[in-house]
Symmetry: D2
Subunit: 126 residues, 4 copies
């Protein structure tokens, strides 16, 4: 395989798919949380997050939606800031024949914006 | 004036216009620097930065352009990260009858991305 | 004056002092909001924000405190993320003979983390 | 196991260890890149990044060093901004009996700050 970074990696393609998926979710949250947002500007922010994420190594697909019901301006102004609770992200990473689907969404039962592996598959032997 | 924040401010409307303009430039740089970008995705990022900035107190106009010549991918992948040097921002803030026009751009002579007041006007007496 | 950036600035030293103070507050919020934090790690984050801010042009003094009562972990883990509401910042900027003191703090009456000029002084004529 | 988030995860503890390690590296870069820094303030930033990262799910150990040789002020001021190239991070995540060691460092041969799995181990069967 021609990927010059491969020599640095321990583990399998599956391990790397899970790892790369994690990187993308961590990046999205810590890059964009804090950005001013309203319902009206949410599409611009969704689009920018999607197009930035698609550039990153291994990303096959990404979908970002901001929960309009959680975009709740307060104080003297009519906007708020992007918070992790508002983000609903689903992305697919492929490394060789392995594939990881990861998600970030606010989970009601946990009262927490959870990042998790939704699907993971491919050769798991070292 | 109906702005409930005014009671907290020392100084004049002109002082506040300059202050608010500074807030917006500091916010843009420290919110968005680090975002993955290519020439192809630059318009999405420009649009997201503009629409986020327009929401903030006092902003009348904002124009964000990423210098395509400075978007220079390197390493094994074909994208790079937003850096302050790539940003060209010009924005206008109005507070009462005072107006500030502020800019951020890479200044060749200084080899530095400078934030500066381009125009400032309005009553200056306390 | 030997500052090579001065030629780019419209307005007075006082205008620039207000502008520079705004930059620093915008930078603090949009750089550090989103960082994981607990009461135990708050001092490390306060120190890092202070030492980073002191480096910036014109800063004479800066004090950053995170409101311990607002650091409120939730969900399945025992930490939270830095939010603007937790920040209490006060900083002094000097430009020539002008001086601006700016603050960021959560204002109960506004239910809002307000950035404002607390003091501003110095020659105001263009 | 008492972890209430486990029910949401596909795959093995090993998959999750790799995923969680990726999250932490993505978070570090996109949270802290852009922060003002000099050689003198590097220890404060290193400490804040380490203490923030240790709070996150599964982190057993983390070591952050900024490459002093890459902290290179330019322009009219005597500081620079944290860039990914300056970061040398190594962290260990444990999930159940699985363990991932991940690193971020500038790799000369690639001219690139690479995030990679340095070690990964534990049960790999679904």
């Amino acid at each position: 395989m021609a990927d010059p970074t491969q020599a640095y990696f321990a583990g399998t393609d599956r391990d790397r798919a899970a790892f790369e998926a994690g990187i993308k979710l961590g990046a999205i949250v810590h890059q964009f949380v804090g950005a001013p947002v309203t319902e009206a500007t949410a599409p611009d922010l969704e689009r920018a997050i999607e197009s930035a994420t698609k550039l990153q190594p291994g990303v096959e697909a990404v979908r970002v939606r901001l929960d309009r019901g959680r975009i709740d301006p307060r104080g003297p102004y009519s906007y708020t800031y992007l918070q992790e609770d508002m983000l609903h992200v689903e992305l697919t990473v492929r490394v060789g024949s392995a594939r990881a689907v990861a998600a970030l969404r606010y989970v009601e039962e946990l009262d927490y914006p959870l990042m998790y592996l939704k699907e993971i598959g491919g050769p798991a032997k070292s």
